[in-house]
């Protein structure tokens, strides 16, 4: 600690001497965001979060209330901003992969794929089919993982405690698969530019088969608890409604958009990683309320299982990494006798590989929606700019529109239904 660290009594004085730039929001700006009734005392301003268990992280909402009815809602984000996009500018392309795990920390593999897919697009790499299939299996497991956490916390917010415990139990099975393939349960970093870190270890098939066997009956359990539960329906049907046109205009994607009846899924519209070789359907709702978004995600569990089953059955043999040694690291045993391999290894781990100048956008369908990665490459081993298109950010943007006129207790249900992860919103 430097000697001239600010003491507590020092801070307020300097605040007073500087301009009012430190204010979060000025009165003039606030006047534009709330109705004039807030200034006459007719409505009340209420702060919700950022330390609130049902905001799924650190989301702060400023609510204008007329009694218990929400008149306007002003979300305040940025509490979890970690500067991932800036950090990427100082890292080589391979060193950027572990950073992407931390964006949407409930779906690390979807983020990995958006990033490596974008780099592969810039390099015009064709990934081996076996790697693509393994990616699909893991991506669908990731979607189920993400949905399990959503279902558990969403139900917990509304008051159904036991669903949470069940979901966490099943999530363990998926985390075990992560641990087996990548060695880590949360921050996997398993995908590499050009393929995978390594082939799937023995025991993978058994673990995935167990999930395929167990899940259908577990899903029935969840359905029994919630689907026709009158209390659940009372809290979700007709709440937080958003129409088709509005949902598209706000840039909503994923199950939150499909709940409003728009059939848009990146896997179908712009297939990547051989998704066009699998048979599955995209569940679409109609009313755009909390219940329909819930139904869409529940149906997606079944579709994910269907895709995993097909991919496991047809899993081709072959390599899991491209054979271009300028990008793929050489196997460890080769380094011992091949000078060229040693040079490649050294170059890859010190300088990294260069990506030709250009820009590309690559999107995947993560559990939350369209997770995209935009990279502007400057021809060197480090990117000029990496930007992540976070589905949670755009979905959250529609929250004020969805919550208008609802009761304050419904706010908790609506925030849960759009399935936000604040790590992704703030990046």
């Amino acid at each position: 600690m430097p000697a001239n660290n600010p003491t507590l009594h020092e801070a307020p004085e300097s605040v007073l001497t500087e301009s009012n730039a430190q204010l979060d929001i000025t009165l003039e700006q606030l006047k534009k965001l709330v109705t004039p009734r807030a200034f006459t005392g007719e409505t009340m301003l209420l702060n919700m979060g950022p330390q609130h268990p049902s905001t799924h992280g650190v989301l702060r909402l400023l609510l204008e209330l007329d009694g218990e009815t929400i008149v306007s809602c002003i979300p305040d984000i940025g509490f979890l901003h970690t500067g991932i996009e800036k950090t990427h500018e100082g890292k080589t392309y391979s060193k950027g992969i572990p950073l992407t795990d931390r964006i949407d920390y409930l779906a690390p593999l979807s983020n990995n794929l958006a990033y490596v897919g974008c780099v592969e697009k810039l390099l015009d790499l064709e990934v081996p089919l076996r790697a693509q299939y393994i990616r699909v299996i893991l991506l669908e497991l990731t979607r189920m993982n993400s949905h399990l956490v959503w279902l558990g916390t969403h139900a917990l917010d509304i008051g159904a405690m036991s669903v949470f415990l069940y979901c966490m139990r099943e999530r363990e099975m998926i985390l075990d698969v992560y641990e087996l393939v990548a060695g880590a349960r949360m921050m996997t970093s398993y995908f590499r530019v050009g393929g995978l870190w390594r082939d799937i270890p023995p025991g993978f098939t058994d673990l995935v088969q167990k999930i395929l066997d167990v899940f259908p009956e577990r899903l029935l359990e969840y359905e029994k608890l919630l689907k026709d539960n009158p209390m659940w329906k009372e809290r979700t049907v007709g709440i937080g409604v958003i129409g088709k046109e509005d949902a598209i205009a706000y840039g909503m994607t994923g199950p939150s958009l499909r709940g409003s009846g728009v059939n848009y899924d990146v896997r179908k519209a712009y297939p990547y990683s051989s998704y066009d070789q699998f048979e599955f359907s995209v569940p679409v709702g109609s009313n755009g309320d909390v219940y329909d978004r819930y139904r869409c995600r529940m149906e997606e569990f079944h579709q994910s299982l269907k895709i995993i089953e097909q991919a496991m059955k047809r899993l081709p043999a072959g390599p899991v990494m491209v054979d271009n040694r300028k990008i793929a690291p050489p196997p460890k045993h080769e380094i011992a006798y091949s000078m060229e391999s040693l040079i490649h290894h050294f170059k890859l781990w010190t300088e990294g590989f260069s990506v030709p100048e250009g820009e590309a956008y690559f999107a995947v369908e993560s559990g939350k929606g369209e997770f995209g990665c935009y990279i502007s490459a400057n021809g060197g081993p480090k990117p000029r700019r990496v930007h992540f298109r976070a589905p949670s950010l755009c979905n959250l943007q529609a929250l004020p529109r969805m919550s208008r006129g609802c009761l304050i207790a419904d706010m908790v249900a609506i925030v849960g239904s759009i399935d936000i992860v604040l790590g992704e919103v703030d990046r």
């Binding site: 204010l23 205009a249 712009y270 590309a360």
Partner: protein, 174 residues
């Protein structure tokens, strides 16, 4: 992947309709990029939304091309749900005049995305309904994604500690 516009008939129609609002067309990695100007941007986006049916603004971001001039590019990623097409629109901005009309009137989703660009790059959006910082903390000074901000660990400068941090910096002062 087709690398010329001739093999993409849908896009050549759009480029023809936009006329001289498009100053450059780039096709690379199977993606089409239209470069337009600041003055014609809103006109182009309105056409793309209403006539060409690009209903969704998926993403909007900024790239700092330092030391090139024009230094900044605002990048719009459009998506057409009905035609299953993607399109990228780019506008270059000079370092000396970092203002651009806001796309909020055309696409609602631009609101927060433009606030983010304003926050991280300091680009001002004319006509934006609520232009204030979104990610960086209140009282933060500067725009962190500009290239002159180093990619190193540094104590975050707020208005109350900026002078002290500045005093500790190793460079020479008067």
């Amino acid at each position: 992947m087709p690398d010329t516009l001739v093999s993409l008939p849908d896009f050549s129609g759009i480029v023809a309709d936009l006329g001289d609002a498009v100053i450059e067309t780039v096709v690379a990695h199977g993606e089409v990029t239209l470069v337009t100007t600041r003055e014609r941007l809103i006109e182009a986006l309105t056409y793309l939304r209403n006539q060409a049916r690009f209903e969704m603004l998926v993403d909007e971001t900024c790239v700092d091309y330092f030391p090139q001039e024009p230094r900044f590019a605002i990048v719009y990623q459009l998506n057409s749900l009905s035609r299953t097409m993607r399109l990228r629109v780019k506008v270059f901005l000079s370092e000396h005049d970092k203002t651009i009309p806001s796309a909020c009137a055309v696409y609602l989703s631009a609101n927060w995305l433009e606030r983010e660009i304003y926050d991280l790059f300091g680009v001002t959006f004319e006509g934006h309904p609520d232009l204030r910082r979104i990610l960086m903390p209140a009282g933060y000074e500067g725009h962190p994604l500009l290239k002159e901000v180093p990619v190193t660990v540094e104590e975050v400068a707020f208005s109350f500690n900026r002078r002290r941090i500045d005093a500790d910096k190793p460079y020479a002062r008067e």
